[in-house]
Symmetry: C2
Subunit: 150 residues, 2 copies
DNA sequence: ACTTAGATGGTCAAATTAGTCAATATCTTT
DNA sequence: AAAGATATTGACTAATTTGACCATCTAAGT
Protein backbone atom coordinates (compact mmCIF):
# COMPACT_ATOMS: atom_id res chain seq x y z
CA UNK A 1 0.00 0.00 0.00
CA UNK A 2 2.82 2.36 -0.73
CA UNK A 3 2.75 5.36 -2.98
CA UNK A 4 5.85 5.14 -5.15
CA UNK A 5 8.33 7.95 -5.48
CA UNK A 6 6.85 8.76 -8.86
CA UNK A 7 3.68 9.94 -7.23
CA UNK A 8 5.39 11.73 -4.40
CA UNK A 9 7.86 13.46 -6.70
CA UNK A 10 5.10 14.50 -9.07
CA UNK A 11 3.16 16.03 -6.22
CA UNK A 12 6.17 17.89 -4.90
CA UNK A 13 7.22 19.08 -8.33
CA UNK A 14 3.82 20.50 -9.15
CA UNK A 15 3.58 22.11 -5.77
CA UNK A 16 6.94 23.69 -6.46
CA UNK A 17 5.62 24.96 -9.78
CA UNK A 18 2.53 26.33 -8.14
CA UNK A 19 4.61 28.18 -5.56
CA UNK A 20 6.89 29.70 -8.14
CA UNK A 21 4.30 30.43 -10.71
CA UNK A 22 4.81 33.57 -12.73
CA UNK A 23 4.54 34.32 -16.39
CA UNK A 24 7.76 32.61 -17.39
CA UNK A 25 8.13 28.84 -17.66
CA UNK A 26 10.39 27.23 -15.06
CA UNK A 27 13.24 24.96 -16.11
CA UNK A 28 12.89 21.39 -14.89
CA UNK A 29 16.43 21.67 -13.65
CA UNK A 30 15.42 24.28 -11.10
CA UNK A 31 12.55 22.18 -9.84
CA UNK A 32 14.77 19.13 -9.58
CA UNK A 33 17.40 21.03 -7.65
CA UNK A 34 14.99 22.66 -5.24
CA UNK A 35 13.14 19.43 -4.58
CA UNK A 36 16.17 17.19 -4.49
CA UNK A 37 14.91 14.98 -7.30
CA UNK A 38 17.07 13.50 -10.04
CA UNK A 39 16.60 15.64 -13.14
CA UNK A 40 16.64 12.58 -15.37
CA UNK A 41 13.95 10.92 -13.34
CA UNK A 42 11.85 14.05 -13.15
CA UNK A 43 11.90 14.37 -16.92
CA UNK A 44 10.11 11.05 -17.18
CA UNK A 45 7.64 11.87 -14.48
CA UNK A 46 6.63 15.11 -16.09
CA UNK A 47 5.91 13.57 -19.47
CA UNK A 48 2.48 12.11 -18.74
CA UNK A 49 1.52 15.30 -16.95
CA UNK A 50 2.34 17.33 -20.04
CA UNK A 51 0.58 14.88 -22.32
CA UNK A 52 -2.54 15.15 -20.19
CA UNK A 53 -2.44 18.93 -20.23
CA UNK A 54 -1.74 19.44 -16.55
CA UNK A 55 1.48 21.25 -17.32
CA UNK A 56 2.51 23.11 -20.45
CA UNK A 57 6.08 22.84 -21.59
CA UNK A 58 8.11 25.04 -23.87
CA UNK A 59 11.44 24.03 -25.31
CA UNK A 60 14.48 26.02 -26.11
CA UNK A 61 16.29 28.76 -24.32
CA UNK A 62 14.34 30.24 -21.41
CA UNK A 63 11.94 27.36 -21.80
CA UNK A 64 10.61 25.16 -19.04
CA UNK A 65 7.26 24.05 -17.74
CA UNK A 66 4.26 25.79 -16.22
CA UNK A 67 0.96 24.72 -14.81
CA UNK A 68 -1.53 24.65 -17.66
CA UNK A 69 -4.48 25.37 -15.39
CA UNK A 70 -4.98 27.36 -12.22
CA UNK A 71 -3.89 25.42 -9.12
CA UNK A 72 -7.42 25.23 -7.75
CA UNK A 73 -8.38 23.15 -10.76
CA UNK A 74 -5.65 20.57 -10.35
CA UNK A 75 -6.56 17.74 -8.00
CA UNK A 76 -4.04 15.57 -6.29
CA UNK A 77 -5.95 12.52 -7.47
CA UNK A 78 -5.44 13.57 -11.06
CA UNK A 79 -1.71 14.00 -10.64
CA UNK A 80 -1.26 10.67 -8.94
CA UNK A 81 -3.42 8.79 -11.39
CA UNK A 82 -1.44 10.16 -14.29
CA UNK A 83 1.95 9.17 -12.97
CA UNK A 84 1.07 6.05 -11.00
CA UNK A 85 -1.73 4.61 -13.03
CA UNK A 86 -4.94 3.55 -11.28
CA UNK A 87 -5.11 4.36 -7.61
CA UNK A 88 -7.23 1.30 -6.90
CA UNK A 89 -5.70 -0.73 -4.08
CA UNK A 90 -6.48 -3.95 -5.94
CA UNK A 91 -6.90 -4.46 -9.66
CA UNK A 92 -10.28 -6.13 -9.35
CA UNK A 93 -11.71 -2.84 -8.10
CA UNK A 94 -11.44 -1.17 -11.47
CA UNK A 95 -11.88 -4.30 -13.50
CA UNK A 96 -13.82 -7.23 -11.99
CA UNK A 97 -12.69 -9.46 -14.83
CA UNK A 98 -9.18 -9.47 -13.35
CA UNK A 99 -10.27 -11.98 -10.76
CA UNK A 100 -12.40 -15.02 -11.49
CA UNK A 101 -13.75 -14.84 -7.97
CA UNK A 102 -14.85 -11.23 -8.24
CA UNK A 103 -18.54 -12.11 -8.20
CA UNK A 104 -18.52 -13.93 -4.91
CA UNK A 105 -15.54 -12.26 -3.35
CA UNK A 106 -16.40 -10.35 -0.22
CA UNK A 107 -12.90 -9.03 0.17
CA UNK A 108 -13.56 -7.07 -3.00
CA UNK A 109 -16.35 -5.19 -1.23
CA UNK A 110 -13.84 -3.96 1.30
CA UNK A 111 -11.37 -3.01 -1.41
CA UNK A 112 -14.14 -1.00 -3.08
CA UNK A 113 -14.79 0.87 0.12
CA UNK A 114 -11.08 1.47 0.53
CA UNK A 115 -10.88 2.83 -3.00
CA UNK A 116 -13.79 5.11 -2.29
CA UNK A 117 -12.26 6.77 0.75
CA UNK A 118 -8.84 7.10 -0.84
CA UNK A 119 -10.32 8.89 -3.79
CA UNK A 120 -12.44 11.06 -1.54
CA UNK A 121 -9.31 12.41 0.14
CA UNK A 122 -7.30 12.88 -3.01
CA UNK A 123 -10.15 14.31 -5.05
CA UNK A 124 -10.86 16.93 -2.47
CA UNK A 125 -7.30 18.22 -2.35
CA UNK A 126 -6.14 20.64 -5.02
CA UNK A 127 -2.75 22.17 -5.62
CA UNK A 128 -4.18 25.42 -4.41
CA UNK A 129 -5.02 23.85 -1.06
CA UNK A 130 -1.45 22.71 -0.74
CA UNK A 131 -0.07 26.13 -1.58
CA UNK A 132 -2.26 27.71 1.06
CA UNK A 133 -1.11 25.24 3.66
CA UNK A 134 2.46 25.77 2.62
CA UNK A 135 2.22 29.49 3.11
CA UNK A 136 0.54 29.14 6.46
CA UNK A 137 3.16 26.69 7.57
CA UNK A 138 6.04 28.84 6.41
CA UNK A 139 4.58 31.77 8.35
CA UNK A 140 4.54 29.81 11.56
CA UNK A 141 7.97 28.38 10.99
CA UNK A 142 9.59 31.64 10.03
CA UNK A 143 7.78 35.00 9.91
CA UNK A 144 10.01 36.10 7.03
CA UNK A 145 7.95 34.76 4.17
CA UNK A 146 9.56 32.03 2.16
CA UNK A 147 7.99 30.60 -0.93
CA UNK A 148 10.58 28.09 -2.00
CA UNK A 149 8.62 24.93 -1.43
CA UNK A 150 11.59 23.47 0.38
CA UNK B 1 -0.96 2.31 -4.11
CA UNK B 2 -1.45 -1.36 -4.65
CA UNK B 3 -2.03 -3.98 -2.05
CA UNK B 4 0.32 -6.84 -2.87
CA UNK B 5 -0.81 -10.39 -3.27
CA UNK B 6 0.58 -11.10 0.19
CA UNK B 7 -2.14 -9.00 1.74
CA UNK B 8 -4.88 -10.23 -0.51
CA UNK B 9 -3.90 -13.86 -0.07
CA UNK B 10 -3.68 -13.48 3.69
CA UNK B 11 -7.15 -12.00 3.80
CA UNK B 12 -8.60 -14.74 1.62
CA UNK B 13 -6.82 -17.48 3.53
CA UNK B 14 -8.07 -16.29 6.89
CA UNK B 15 -11.54 -15.83 5.54
CA UNK B 16 -11.35 -19.40 4.31
CA UNK B 17 -10.30 -20.52 7.77
CA UNK B 18 -13.11 -18.60 9.36
CA UNK B 19 -15.64 -20.20 7.04
CA UNK B 20 -14.39 -23.70 7.69
CA UNK B 21 -13.77 -23.33 11.33
CA UNK B 22 -14.48 -26.36 13.45
CA UNK B 23 -12.59 -28.04 16.22
CA UNK B 24 -9.93 -29.58 14.01
CA UNK B 25 -7.04 -27.63 12.49
CA UNK B 26 -7.16 -27.24 8.73
CA UNK B 27 -4.17 -28.22 6.61
CA UNK B 28 -2.63 -25.33 4.75
CA UNK B 29 -2.77 -27.50 1.68
CA UNK B 30 -6.56 -27.43 1.72
CA UNK B 31 -6.68 -23.67 2.06
CA UNK B 32 -4.19 -23.26 -0.75
CA UNK B 33 -6.17 -25.53 -3.03
CA UNK B 34 -9.51 -23.92 -2.33
CA UNK B 35 -8.15 -20.41 -2.71
CA UNK B 36 -5.92 -21.11 -5.67
CA UNK B 37 -2.78 -19.97 -3.88
CA UNK B 38 0.65 -21.57 -4.18
CA UNK B 39 1.17 -23.67 -1.07
CA UNK B 40 4.78 -22.56 -0.77
CA UNK B 41 3.83 -18.95 -0.91
CA UNK B 42 1.01 -19.41 1.56
CA UNK B 43 3.40 -20.97 4.04
CA UNK B 44 5.46 -17.79 4.00
CA UNK B 45 2.41 -15.64 4.37
CA UNK B 46 1.02 -17.56 7.31
CA UNK B 47 4.23 -17.43 9.33
CA UNK B 48 3.95 -13.86 10.62
CA UNK B 49 0.28 -14.46 11.37
CA UNK B 50 1.19 -17.46 13.52
CA UNK B 51 4.01 -15.59 15.21
CA UNK B 52 1.63 -12.79 16.09
CA UNK B 53 -0.93 -15.20 17.47
CA UNK B 54 -3.63 -14.61 14.90
CA UNK B 55 -3.59 -18.25 13.90
CA UNK B 56 -2.47 -21.27 15.85
CA UNK B 57 -0.65 -24.00 14.01
CA UNK B 58 -0.23 -27.61 14.95
CA UNK B 59 2.22 -29.85 13.22
CA UNK B 60 2.08 -33.49 12.51
CA UNK B 61 -0.60 -35.79 11.22
CA UNK B 62 -4.05 -34.21 11.19
CA UNK B 63 -2.37 -30.94 11.94
CA UNK B 64 -2.97 -27.64 10.27
CA UNK B 65 -3.88 -24.13 11.30
CA UNK B 66 -6.81 -22.53 13.06
CA UNK B 67 -7.82 -19.06 14.00
CA UNK B 68 -6.40 -18.37 17.43
CA UNK B 69 -9.15 -15.90 18.29
CA UNK B 70 -12.82 -15.56 17.41
CA UNK B 71 -13.32 -13.95 13.98
CA UNK B 72 -14.97 -10.86 15.43
CA UNK B 73 -11.71 -10.06 17.19
CA UNK B 74 -9.53 -10.23 14.09
CA UNK B 75 -9.40 -6.98 12.18
CA UNK B 76 -8.46 -6.76 8.55
CA UNK B 77 -6.01 -4.01 9.40
CA UNK B 78 -4.17 -6.36 11.72
CA UNK B 79 -3.88 -9.07 9.09
CA UNK B 80 -2.60 -6.69 6.45
CA UNK B 81 -0.16 -4.98 8.73
CA UNK B 82 1.35 -8.29 9.73
CA UNK B 83 1.93 -9.53 6.22
CA UNK B 84 2.54 -6.27 4.38
CA UNK B 85 4.30 -4.24 6.99
CA UNK B 86 3.08 -0.73 7.69
CA UNK B 87 -0.04 0.30 5.81
CA UNK B 88 1.13 3.91 5.63
CA UNK B 89 1.00 5.17 2.03
CA UNK B 90 4.32 6.94 2.51
CA UNK B 91 7.12 6.12 4.93
CA UNK B 92 7.27 9.59 6.39
CA UNK B 93 3.81 9.06 7.83
CA UNK B 94 4.99 6.56 10.40
CA UNK B 95 8.47 7.99 10.74
CA UNK B 96 9.03 11.69 10.01
CA UNK B 97 12.78 11.16 10.14
CA UNK B 98 12.56 9.33 6.84
CA UNK B 99 12.30 12.61 5.01
CA UNK B 100 14.42 15.66 5.78
CA UNK B 101 11.57 17.84 4.55
CA UNK B 102 8.99 16.29 6.84
CA UNK B 103 8.71 19.40 8.98
CA UNK B 104 7.73 21.77 6.23
CA UNK B 105 6.21 19.27 3.85
CA UNK B 106 2.56 19.91 3.24
CA UNK B 107 2.19 16.83 1.11
CA UNK B 108 2.83 14.89 4.28
CA UNK B 109 -0.32 16.34 5.80
CA UNK B 110 -2.32 14.82 2.98
CA UNK B 111 -0.55 11.50 3.36
CA UNK B 112 -1.46 11.57 7.05
CA UNK B 113 -5.10 12.11 6.22
CA UNK B 114 -4.93 9.32 3.68
CA UNK B 115 -3.42 7.01 6.26
CA UNK B 116 -6.20 7.89 8.68
CA UNK B 117 -9.06 6.99 6.36
CA UNK B 118 -7.39 3.82 5.16
CA UNK B 119 -6.98 2.64 8.71
CA UNK B 120 -10.50 3.63 9.55
CA UNK B 121 -11.85 1.30 6.89
CA UNK B 122 -9.58 -1.60 7.67
CA UNK B 123 -9.87 -1.27 11.43
CA UNK B 124 -13.62 -1.39 11.28
CA UNK B 125 -13.74 -4.61 9.31
CA UNK B 126 -13.33 -7.91 11.12
CA UNK B 127 -13.18 -11.41 9.77
CA UNK B 128 -16.61 -11.96 11.24
CA UNK B 129 -18.01 -9.14 9.12
CA UNK B 130 -16.58 -10.79 6.05
CA UNK B 131 -18.04 -14.16 6.96
CA UNK B 132 -21.46 -12.60 7.40
CA UNK B 133 -21.22 -10.88 4.03
CA UNK B 134 -20.08 -14.08 2.47
CA UNK B 135 -23.06 -16.02 3.77
CA UNK B 136 -25.47 -13.36 2.68
CA UNK B 137 -23.93 -13.25 -0.74
CA UNK B 138 -23.97 -17.00 -1.15
CA UNK B 139 -27.63 -17.05 -0.21
CA UNK B 140 -28.52 -14.61 -2.92
CA UNK B 141 -26.33 -16.31 -5.46
CA UNK B 142 -27.57 -19.80 -4.70
CA UNK B 143 -30.22 -20.60 -2.10
CA UNK B 144 -28.50 -23.92 -1.35
CA UNK B 145 -26.14 -22.77 1.36
CA UNK B 146 -22.47 -23.00 0.54
CA UNK B 147 -19.76 -22.19 2.96
CA UNK B 148 -16.66 -22.88 0.94
CA UNK B 149 -15.29 -19.40 0.62
CA UNK B 150 -14.82 -19.92 -3.10
C1' DA C 1 23.79 32.08 -38.87
C1' DC C 2 25.43 30.60 -34.49
C1' DT C 3 25.22 29.46 -29.83
C1' DT C 4 23.01 28.20 -25.86
C1' DA C 5 19.33 26.46 -22.98
C1' DG C 6 16.02 23.34 -22.46
C1' DA C 7 12.35 19.75 -23.44
C1' DT C 8 11.63 15.02 -25.88
C1' DG C 9 12.00 10.44 -26.17
C1' DG C 10 14.68 6.64 -26.07
C1' DT C 11 17.97 3.12 -24.08
C1' DC C 12 20.33 1.02 -20.45
C1' DA C 13 21.45 -0.59 -15.75
C1' DA C 14 21.20 -1.12 -10.86
C1' DA C 15 18.36 -2.15 -7.00
C1' DT C 16 14.46 -3.76 -5.04
C1' DT C 17 10.36 -6.53 -4.64
C1' DA C 18 7.13 -10.26 -5.72
C1' DG C 19 6.33 -14.63 -6.37
C1' DT C 20 7.66 -19.43 -6.77
C1' DC C 21 10.05 -23.67 -5.84
C1' DA C 22 12.69 -26.91 -3.16
C1' DA C 23 15.20 -29.23 0.60
C1' DT C 24 15.43 -30.31 5.05
C1' DA C 25 14.21 -30.25 9.87
C1' DT C 26 11.00 -31.02 13.28
C1' DC C 27 6.90 -32.13 15.44
C1' DT C 28 2.63 -35.12 16.30
C1' DT C 29 -0.61 -38.61 15.56
C1' DT C 30 -1.56 -43.32 14.64
C1' DA D 1 8.35 -46.55 13.64
C1' DA D 2 5.89 -44.47 9.88
C1' DA D 3 3.34 -40.99 7.92
C1' DG D 4 1.46 -36.51 7.68
C1' DA D 5 1.88 -32.08 8.55
C1' DT D 6 4.14 -27.38 9.56
C1' DA D 7 8.90 -24.69 10.20
C1' DT D 8 12.83 -22.83 8.38
C1' DT D 9 15.89 -21.45 5.10
C1' DG D 10 17.69 -20.45 0.87
C1' DA D 11 17.78 -19.93 -3.96
C1' DC D 12 15.84 -18.51 -8.17
C1' DT D 13 13.14 -15.84 -11.76
C1' DA D 14 10.59 -12.07 -13.34
C1' DA D 15 8.80 -7.68 -12.88
C1' DT D 16 8.99 -3.09 -11.26
C1' DT D 17 11.14 0.98 -9.69
C1' DT D 18 14.49 4.22 -9.77
C1' DG D 19 17.78 6.62 -11.93
C1' DA D 20 21.56 7.80 -15.40
C1' DC D 21 22.77 9.11 -20.00
C1' DC D 22 22.33 10.80 -24.51
C1' DA D 23 21.02 12.19 -29.24
C1' DT D 24 17.64 15.08 -31.13
C1' DC D 25 14.52 18.73 -31.70
C1' DT D 26 13.15 23.53 -30.65
C1' DA D 27 13.27 28.25 -29.29
C1' DA D 28 15.69 32.63 -27.86
C1' DG D 29 19.23 35.76 -28.02
C1' DT D 30 23.32 37.57 -30.27
Amino acid sequence: MKLSTRGRYAARALLDLACHQGTAPIPLKDVARRQGISLYYLEHIVMPLAAAGVVRSSRGASGGIQLARPPQEIRLSEILRLVEGSLAPVDCVADPARCPRAELCVAREVWLELDRVINAVLDSTTLHDLVKRQERKAQIEDPAVRKDGA
